[in-house]
């Protein structure tokens, strides 16, 4: 259970980090709460590890235009307690409450967990649902990738070799929007057997937009617009079930996951509506 040897680089700037990442079989180290176990179990053996923990310019959480920007080394715990996040994109904090344990959240980073593209990741689902943009820097300069184009498979993103994720920007949600995250795990803090994030817009007491993001049931988060069916639980379930095909594994059968999704979708949508009304009152 020890990582294999690697070359360690601690860059002092983003260009230095990008340069180090050009080397063969390199990997970024931020919080390391997902990466280190993979290294210890030798499921990953990078030749070069580029430690970005010293890049303080990537630690920010701030409003940039109509977006909330979270930098690549902002720790989960900081995001979870930050006022800007609470006011402008509360879904991030609703989801973060399910992410691991406080001790892990002290070191792990929110952007790192998105870059990791874990299909069981709550923040992966949040980024997909909100249409967040992932900011990457490479040798060709910076670029932005829409969450929908970023997640391509389990632990697989459309990031090119040699690119560094510098931050993620989330669209700010005014008080007409309500959100919720609901999941079922064997123990609190474990990977979810199934989970759902929901987002609704309520104007004059009426829902005018409703969509959900389902995680832990496929290789990438699955975003579904449910505006047409949200009022009828039966139609809602039919639409959702037709789009998912969960695996059976040691933790849960496919049928059980389908049952969880059915319940969680209704729960998350109901909570999201209540949340919108609460924000407006």
């Amino acid at each position: 259970m020890k990582p294999s040897r690697f070359h360690y680089v601690r860059p002092r700037s983003i260009p230095e980090a990008v340069m180090a990442l050009q080397r063969h079989n390199s990997k970024v180290l931020s919080g390391g709460q997902s990466l280190t176990p993979l290294l210890s179990m030798r499921l990953a053996s990078p030749d070069v590890l580029v430690d970005i923990n010293g890049l303080t310019e990537l630690s920010g959480i701030e409003l940039r235009g109509s977006d909330l920007w979270i930098g690549a080394i902002a720790r989960h715990q900081e995001v979870l307690t930050h006022d800007l996040v609470k006011t402008h994109v509360p879904l991030i904090q609703q989801a973060l409450a399910y992410v691991a344990h406080p001790v892990i959240r002290n070191r792990g980073t929110s952007v790192g967990s998105i870059a990791h593209a874990d299909p069981a990741g709550e923040l992966t689902a949040v980024a997909a649902l909100l249409g967040a943009r992932i900011h990457a820097s490479g040798q060709q300069g910076p670029r932005e990738i829409l969450a929908a184009d970023f997640f391509v498979g389990p632990l697989e993103s459309s990031l090119e070799h040699g690119e560094l994720v510098t931050g993620v920007s989330f669209p700010v949600l005014d008080a007409t929007w309500g959100s919720s995250c609901a999941e079922v795990a064997r123990r609190h803090g474990d990977y979810a057997l199934a989970g759902v994030c929901a987002l609704v817009r309520v104007l004059d007491g009426l829902i005018v937009a409703a969509r959900i993001s389902i995680f832990s049931v496929a290789g990438t988060p699955l975003v579904i617009d449910v505006m047409d069916v949200h009022e009828d639980p039966e139609k809602l379930n039919l639409k959702v079930q037709a789009l998912i095909d969960p695996d059976t594994d040691i933790h849960a059968t496919s049928d059980y996951r389908r049952q969880l999704v059915k319940t969680l979708v209704v729960q998350a949508l109901t909570e999201a509506r209540v949340h919108a009304e609460l924000r407006q009152s």
């Binding site: 259970m1 690697f6 406080p102 001790v103 002290n106 123990r187 803090g189």
Partner: protein, 159 residues
């Protein structure tokens, strides 16, 4: 790397792949920090990094150069007597085999700094990331509540 461990600044030369938990145990011979699962699940290796609890096995030692680390050894009072959480574990039988204890002590120490008057429910939530295979947790919860009592009664704790 430069690092301050339990108040003592020191410099060391370590391989990049050395985990912080192994650095403490093998290089510094501070074997109070225990290594259980070595992939972040059990919590036995929990130490305080700048006062915040983190998993020693999920951090490379080189990555925390310039930081201050506190281990279970560092939570003993300066005169060698037990710190408050350690004393509470002793009094409330919060341990049996003792393997998981260092991780609990550090986690609870940091938790009580933030929340010195926890409810039992909050105490349960605070230790949810640490595994114990002996006690069934009941006496660990009691130890958290006892430590809170000791803090309230003004018992000495140097940390």
């Amino acid at each position: 790397m430069e690092i301050t461990v339990n108040g003592t600044p020191l410099s060391a030369r370590v391989p990049a792949r050395r985990l912080l938990s192994d650095f403490l145990r093998h290089d510094l011979r501070l074997t109070g920090t225990h290594v259980g699962c070595e992939h972040g699940v059990c919590g036995a290796c929990t130490i305080l990094l700048e006062g915040k609890p983190v998993r020693g096995c999920l951090i490379f030692a080189v990555s925390v150069t310039g930081s201050a680390v506190t281990t279970v050894e560092g939570l003993v009072n300066n005169d060698g007597s037990l710190g408050i959480v350690q004393r509470a574990f002793h009094e409330s039988h919060g341990l049996q085999c003792g393997f998981c204890t260092p991780g609990f002590i550090t986690t609870i120490h940091a938790f009580l700094k933030e929340n010195p008057h926890p409810t039992e429910e909050e105490a349960r939530e605070a230790i949810a990331g640490n595994l114990c295979r002996c006690t069934g947790y009941q006496n660990i919860i009691k130890s958290v509540m006892r430590a809170a009592e000791l803090i309230d009664s003004g018992v000495r704790d140097d940390h």
